[in-house]
Symmetry: C2
Subunit: 709 residues, 2 copies
């Protein structure tokens, strides 16, 4: 029997008390918005921390300044707005005011109850005049009513009896996160107009002209009551996009706290009943995995207009942008557990197809090129060699649609929204790539691109990119055949896919990451001081690029996605070689190395890499949790378990292979496949699969392998 | 006999009357400063044009804003200051004031007398009240006294007799040149403090904290005199760097106009007597060449602290930066005709060696890496793939020192200043490059660089770069042996030079521009509309980089510098191939193609390319003369004549080969070789060389070849 405590992240278990780190870990969200767990009394600079509200897709834009401009550069920065902390209150006792002087406030207790989706906190507070009281908070971001943030405040006075007056504060501090950090982390001051209208505040961004309205409802204005008795005030914040509204109409009125809480519990019950992964043998790991799944659930936009930001809705890192992280690292979890959310995330890509077409045109190319990083679909990468040049984003998105269709069997969605994306990206590939006489025969080459490994840039024939583009083209041919479309184009797509160039070094027996990679010198790791990682913060890009050194899995990632195309010997050789030159400076790396270690029988490595990914944010492995969670890595830890230990992949049906490391006694989870739920139990001895009664699927078990189709 | 008119550039001969174009062509300078030939009455925006004073090395700096920052990026912009027009005057007649209302002013006559170094102009002026007069100007930038700009104004009144009051105007308009133009052309507002002190103005830049003082002296305050009589005012502007001075002391007082003019004539007589090139058979060409030599003379810094900006001192283009243009395109002219100026230009590089060492260190490299573009030695390139990555600048500078030593025999300068530059750059190469097993054998590779061709970037083993680095290393070994220095390093330098990798495609019989170049698709020139050139203004760099398309001579430039290392067949094959993929979007390209056409017997091509270079600015071939002259191309036209038609090169002595095209009857010029002057006459039939009596040189003539040693 599982214990309830396995679902509770308690502050006592955490390695440090850094305010910004805790704000991220305990952040609450529901895909529409996220609230950092900041000090509830913080106004301006008085108290430590960096609290804030992030609303998915609500951003400010600003012209990008280039030292030297060139044709086709991205024009606008987009930065998710850090809005006032919804948890923030101003308390007044007599003439004392928590917003005017700094009160002593100490977090004495904090538990994130992931089973219910509720955060419980307790603070000891003391005013400058010596009045002391306990403040309890019970808060959640409603999954059932996505516009609502709910918070109950309870106060127990220790040495006074006057009422404690309560008002919501608008916190407007804009503490820029350290700009010397990771250069992809940029924080911008938002010039927000704030307009008071009774209990409604409206925020309008200056340049992007987006509008947001927030309404606060509470059941009381002051904590009356006697000493040492808890008295409560219950406050609901209701958040509404008002961009297209003249006067926002809030659908929600003050409801009973218990009703809302009950809904929340039910929603989370539903979530865990399909998404939970139960691990026997390691309690810390069990909780770490649940923490990751919990945050994945909190960050996913579900309205078809928004996506999953690299930091979810927990911080300002990466400016709130959507990357390939979604399709490659996050989407599989949703496809296999909550296909509706997966569909919503993919629908977003369809909504930005027009921007992708315009971008391709701007670059004198046919079809569509999706933005490397964006909120509204416009390209916002200000450094194209590690931005626009990562054209693999096109094929990554298509891979997401393809996997969704295979696993859900939802052909209608592909007909309605997917196929257009697949066709337009196929048009791009055949225009962008070239048929070239290469090594004595005609080959389709994709030159001048950057692959996933951002420590190599503007290379010819990046293996991953070519492999993914080939898959994109083949899927386009499949859909064109199915729907009898693009008769004239189909042949060229097929030809480009068939003649796709893949570099191989015969002498070394290695798959080439790109045409020149293996011809470069090896990075001198011995001469590299430990404090010089990540390399990108300590070496000029042109120095990094000229060596064999990888920021993250690249060829190995391609081999993870298409494992069955390679012999085990090849996989082992490539793994050994690329592992030696990979720094894992990106949080997207270790999970992939874990999976491929599993699949090639390197059990120890598989477990070690997995443990780094599984607990990355709780242990603050990368040292920058304060800027937000590493969402892709959280998805990656799910991948390590499913694609790695359980060997999950699609090949004429779902295939599972038992690669469970000895440190894990038992792994238990559910998968959705074509509308039906399958329960899987892996132990050291075997795989058990349970289909629902009358399932349309069949199950073939042979040794450690299972095929479901 | 030559005609005086061959030295006069008359406005009547010019193709248009565009104010900015004329300001550039008629600009006057002396290496210390340059004055654009702007409308003398222009104040602020009232009159057309973009006049200004540029003082060599006087710049403002500003932090570079990056959309996305990375380690090791250049920190500061540097922009030469556009200072008030020294020619500008404010005229007042009664209550009429040329600075307050716009007077009619029409240039009726303009002649640049290159033989004397003097500009003659005549304007017809009419006030709003109808008073009309003629204004004559005679102006020059003194070569003898480099701080002086001299201008005589003469007025002849037509229909009034009141005095015309005369004051110097400070023009502070800052018309930014069109930012949609070439992205390397950047103009910045300068925030200059201006402080009046009698007739002295001092300019202080806000960020770079540089100071400049200008003193004006004139012999009268108003034009008195009767109608239809010319009355003159004579004004001297004296320019002084005041950065290190508390109170600038001007050495110069008002001298007689005729004395200064006489000095100027004498200086120019000296200049032409060694530098002139006489061409029989085409008067336009004769004048065009002289115009180029004249501007080369006007732009070269001679104080050892400054260099030759890409636009000379005639405009704001390229921000007044010094590039490799100096050593590769401009320096040879000075080495062969005015070695003292060549020495001063090279001395500048020695003065910025410390900055180059610091830059190498910042990039975690040994030795020194010179800035790709700079004024004070700091790297200011804000786009490193076409900036810092052009590390060939190191070898280009060393090539300049080497050529200087070979031609002048001035070993002392090399001992004092040259050798340290050669050693430090050699240290850089062996650290930056790598010994790599390449095509089955150990080779020294230089990866991740950009060569001269800016339509390819961050490539491995750029042929030009490797060839030049090899030369740099060999020269370092030679000097280390000569001076018995760097005993421990010598061997590695020698090994790197000996094992330097040079790519060759056996099948095509072609020298490879870089490892991947010939593997890329050919640019589709047929599909490229004519108005899409230059490509860099119409295509994203990542699109351009992935094709076989060159902005300028790259491999062909290497073959020009080391012609004797190649068979004629190889040169012809490479020429034919690279010519087809070269757009000549850079003004540094055609002169090199002309030379190599000469040397490979493609006479017609040699002449056509030469004609484009020789008259590039007079005819405004590139369409942007308004931003300043194309100094490197002017040097390039000298190279086309000397290295091309006369086959000049150094190989165990000076070698000349007669490649005169049939369009030129006779080519006559002088060369300085190891302190002695040699007169050369090329005709269709032969080469005549005349050594001074008692010359230490010997002359060997065989057929169309001459060897002087």
């Amino acid at each position: 029997m599982e214990k309830n405590s396995d679902f509770i992240l308690d502050i006592k278990e955490l390695p440090n008390r850094n305010a910004e780190y805790l704000e991220t870990l305990f952040a609450l969200g529901n895909g529409k918005f996220g609230v950092r767990a900041g000090n509830p009394l913080k106004v301006n600079q008085q108290y430590p921390g960096n609290p804030g509200l992030f609303v998915n897709g609500f951003f400010e834009s600003e012209e990008i300044q280039y030292g030297e401009w060139a044709y086709g550069y991205a024009k606008q920065h987009q930065t998710i707005c850090k809005l006032p902390n919804l948890r923030g209150v101003t308390l007044r006792i007599g003439s004392e005011d928590s917003a005017k002087e700094e009160w002593q406030i100490k977090l004495t207790h904090a538990q994130l109850d992931m089973k219910q989706g509720v955060l419980f906190e307790r603070y000891a507070v003391k005013t400058p005049a010596g009045k002391s009281f306990d403040l309890k908070m019970t808060s959640f971001a409603s999954l059932a009513r996505s516009e609502l943030f709910v918070c109950k405040y309870e106060i127990s006075k220790h040495n006074f009896e006057e009422p404690v007056h309560f008002t919501q504060s608008l916190f407007q501090e804009r503490e820029a996160i350290n700009e010397n950090d990771d250069p992809r982390v940029v924080s911008k001051e938002q010039d927000l107009g704030i307009e008071q209208n009774q209990d409604i505040y409206q925020f309008t961004t200056k340049n992007s002209q987006k509008k947001l309205a927030i309404k606060w409802i509470k059941n009381d204005d002051s904590f009356e009551g006697k000493k040492d008795q808890f008295v409560s005030i219950f406050q609901i914040s209701s958040i509404m996009d008002a961009t297209d509204e003249s006067a926002p109409s809030f659908s929600c009125e003050l409801a009973e706290f218990d009703t809302l809480l009950k809904e929340q519990r039910q929603m989370y019950h539903n979530f865990w009943s399909v998404s939970d992964i139960r691990i026997k043998g390691n309690d810390t790991l069990q909780k770490g995995i649940r923490f990751n799944l919990f945050h994945l659930n909190q960050g996913a936009g579900r309205d078809g207009q928004t996506n999953f930001a690299a930091k979810g809705l927990t911080g300002e890192g990466y400016e709130g942008h959507y990357f390939w992280d979604t399709e490659l690292y996050i989407l599989p979890f949703f496809i296999y557990t909550q296909p509706k959310t997966a569909k919503a995330l993919l629908s977003y890509r369809w909504t930005i197809l027009e921007q992708a077409k315009a971008r391709a045109k701007e670059l004198n190319q046919s079809g569509a090129l999706f933005a490397w990083r964006t909120i509204d679909g416009q390209e916002t990468s200000a450094y194209y060699p590690a931005g626009t040049a990562q054209v693999h984003i096109n094929a990554d998105i298509v891979y997401g649609f393809q996997l969704y269709e295979r696993v859900t069997g939802d052909h209608q969605f592909i007909e309605e929204k997917g196929r257009e994306v697949v066709f337009e990206t196929a048009k791009f590939w055949v225009d962008f790539g070239d048929f070239i006489n290469k090594e004595g025969q005609l080959a389709f080459c994709i030159n001048g691109v950057t692959g996933p490994d951002e420590y190599s840039a503007l290379v010819n024939n990046n293996y991953y990119t070519n492999k993914m583009a080939q898959n994109n083209l083949r899927y386009a041919v499949e859909l064109a055949n199915r729907y009898q479309l693009f008769e004239n184009e189909r042949e060229k797509w097929q030809k480009a896919a068939d003649l796709m160039y893949f570099g191989y070094n015969q002498e070394m027996g290695l798959t080439k990451q790109d045409d020149g990679f293996l011809d470069q010198a090896l990075w001198d790791f011995e001469k590299t001081p430990k404090d010089h990682y990540p390399l990108l913060l300590n070496y000029h890009p042109m120095i990094i690029y000229k060596y064999q050194v990888c920021k993250q899995a690249d060829t190995v990632l391609a081999e993870m996605l298409f494992t069955d195309d390679f012999s085990k010997e090849q996989l082992l050789r490539d793994y050994a070689y690329y592992e030696k030159v990979t720094t894992h400076d990106s949080s997207l790396s270790r999970s992939i190395f874990s999976i491929m270690a599993s699949r090639t029988g390197q059990v120890k490595k598989a477990y070690n890499y997995f443990m780094d990914t599984a607990l990355m944010d709780v242990t603050d492995l990368q040292g920058n949790v304060e800027d937000g969670i590493h969402a892709a890595n959280m998805g990656g830890s799910w991948l390590s378990l499913m694609y790695g230990f359980a060997g999950l992949r699609y090949d004429q049906g779902l295939k599972l292979t038992n690669y469970l490391p000895k440190e894990i006694e038992e792994l238990r989870f559910q998968l959705m496949f074509k509308g039906e739920r399958i329960e899987v139990i892996l132990t050291q001895q075997k795989i058990d699969c349970v289909l629902i009664p009358n399932s349309k699927h069949t199950l073939t078990i042979s040794g450690k392998e299972v095929l479901i189709n």
